[in-house]
């Protein structure tokens, strides 16, 4: 069995804090993986038009590259990449007609029929590594930290590629528990963050951010845990704009699940790139003595 890691564009620039912390955790947990050398943008958003096969070419080409590298599983860290790759894989596996059209068009590549398994790091942790092994590797348990698990949309919908129950997911909850943290349940755990609406209707996206973050805060969360760079953009990076607009809104530390994992595993703080998070995130971890030193 060989595991290919598909990085995704954002993780190489704006979301280094998602990637570097995850790769350090891979190593700490003994995950053998190979970062893909040749890959292109997956397209980020899965096209829903029925006859829009050209937008399947990008994710399928990535899957072909992983197959060429001799892998049988592709793991992603970004929820959007996961969704796009998993759905394209599903299409190549189950829709014979479209598969033939795409393979015919991509005649410079070997044929592909959905042979690979596409996973997100979260279900890889659950299914391939196991919570027991994660628990055993924890050096700094997140005791007493109240964490709101924010799933967003693309890990849970549609059901064909959902890594957990779309209505009542528990995967991030189990993850937080394995690290010794406390779960803060809140109604907006799988509400969309506003996604790309932030481009066309930024005010509407701010409103959703406000609803999600206020709900987490009202339920007593110390921080919001997420998996997706676009969610982080809407809930983390745009939080100052949200605080300015909504009177009484509270600052909410936001961090990637992989950063939390790296902290709990006692990995060097540099791997977390906290400089890309809100200051309140660093302050929170420092106040809980979870950072061995202050990040530069």
């Amino acid at each position: 069995m060989k595991l290919s890691y598909y990085p995704g564009c954002t993780l190489k620039t704006k979301a280094k804090n998602l990637e570097v912390s995850a790769l350090a955790a891979f190593d700490a947990l003994g995950v053998e993986y190979e970062e893909m050398q040749r890959w292109n943008c997956c397209g980020a958003v899965f096209s829903l038009a029925d006859d829009d096969l050209i937008h399947m070419v990008a994710p399928v080409r990535d899957l072909v590259r992983a197959k060429e590298a001799g892998s049988d599983t592709v793991v992603t860290l970004c929820s959007m990449c996961y969704n796009t790759l998993a759905r394209a894989n599903d299409l190549m596996k189950n829709d014979k007609e479209k598969r033939n059209t795409i393979n015919d068009f991509m005649d410079e590549e070997p044929d592909y029929a959905g042979e690979l398994r596409v996973v997100h790091f979260l279900n890889y942790l659950r299914d391939d590594i196991g919570w027991d092994k994660v628990k055993a590797a924890v050096k700094n348990p997140l005791t007493g930290m109240k964490l709101a698990p924010y799933y967003g949309c693309t890990l849970l919908r549609p059901k064909e590629v959902a890594i957990d129950s779309p209505d009542s997911p528990v995967l991030l909850n189990e993850f937080i528990e394995a690290l010794g943290g406390e779960i803060t349940d809140f109604a907006h755990a799988n509400t969309c963050c506003g996604s790309y609406q932030v481009l066309g209707n930024p005010e509407a996206a701010l409103k959703v951010s406000y609803d999600i973050l206020t709900d987490a805060s009202a339920n007593g969360a110390d921080a919001l845990v997420l998996t997706c760079p676009l969610c982080d953009y809407n809930l983390g990076r745009r939080q100052d704009a949200m605080l300015k607009k909504y009177e009484g809104a509270k600052d909410m530390p936001v961090l990637y699940f992989t950063q939390l994992l790296a902290v709990a595993l006692g990995l060097p703080v540099e791997t977390c790139h906290f400089e890309l998070n809100r200051n309140s995130t660093i302050e929170l971890l420092q106040s809980r003595n979870l950072l061995e030193k202050v990040p530069a």
Binding site: G8, N40, I54, V57, A58, E108
Partner: protein, 249 residues
């Protein structure tokens, strides 16, 4: 004794090719460029170095019974029987206008100058059409994720012929974007040659003035003699070789 005169005629076999749809019989061993000249075409544009590096003579062709598009440089590609060809000496592609000194070598430099980068759907038509076998899609993909260095390295063999732009589904000018990546990489991302500063400082401090003045003052014969008697590093010299006279080292 009477000798008989024998004339041996060596003639290349002629094969049919179609230049812009018109049939010509040309010697089978010629390059496309030579064959076009043989057929009577005179190059004013679409021909530069004739050595496979200038990118002026990009040519598109097809073969009978084959749906594929083939490409090559006319000066490097040998004719094939029944090929249909046309040269594309130029393909319109907009090059962004920028003040290089104001750029910083950041991914955003590229994104702002060429936002059409994000129209790429990874169809790979650019790579398939490249006569230099550059992995065009790979460097465009590298740029989308902000990896200017990788884009500069992957696009290194580009000769700016423009065929990628002619086939692009997203209407991108790939070759201009690749050139920007190589410029940014060279100017902002590649480490400076620190020893050059020392050398320039030495020159400015007139470290070599005496030597140059003495050469300038020599008469021609002495100059020739000095040149011929100069000490040269032997071809088999090891790493530790040093000249006997190290005045200027």
């Amino acid at each position: 004794m009477k000798t008989e005169e024998v004339t041996a005629e060596v003639a290349a076999k002629l094969i049919p090719i179609y230049i812009m749809g018109k049939k010509y019989d040309v010697p089978e061993s010629l390059t496309i460029m030579k064959a076009m000249e043989y057929a009577g075409y005179k190059y004013i544009r679409g021909c530069g170095c004739r050595g496979g590096v200038c990118g002026a003579c990009a040519t598109v062709y097809r073969k009978p019974g084959d749906y594929k598009i083939y490409t090559g440089l006319a000066c490097q590609t040998v004719v094939e029987p029944e090929m249909y060809l046309t040269q594309l000496p130029f393909y319109p592609a907009n090059r962004a206008v920028y003040d290089f000194a104001e750029l910083e070598g950041k991914p955003e430099d590229v994104f702002e100058l060429y936002p059409e980068l994000f129209r790429c759907v990874a169809c790979n038509a650019c790579t398939k059409v490249c006569p230099m076998d550059v992995e065009v899609l790979d460097y465009i993909s590298a740029l989308k994720r902000g990896d200017i260095k990788a884009a500069a390295e992957i696009s290194f063999d580009c000769i700016q012929c423009g065929l990628c732009a002619s086939r692009c589904f997203a209407e991108m000018p790939q070759y201009h974007i690749g050139q920007l990546a190589r410029r940014l990489n060279g100017a902002y991302l590649t480490p400076r040659a620190e020893h050059l500063k020392t050398m320039v400082a030495n020159i400015e401090a007139e470290r070599f003035k005496e030597g140059l003045d003495s050469l300038k003052a020599m008469d021609t014969d002495t100059l020739k003699e000095t040149y011929q008697d100069r000490e040269m590093e032997p071809a088999t010299a090891g790493e530790d070789w040093a000249p006997k006279d190290n005045t200027y080292l």
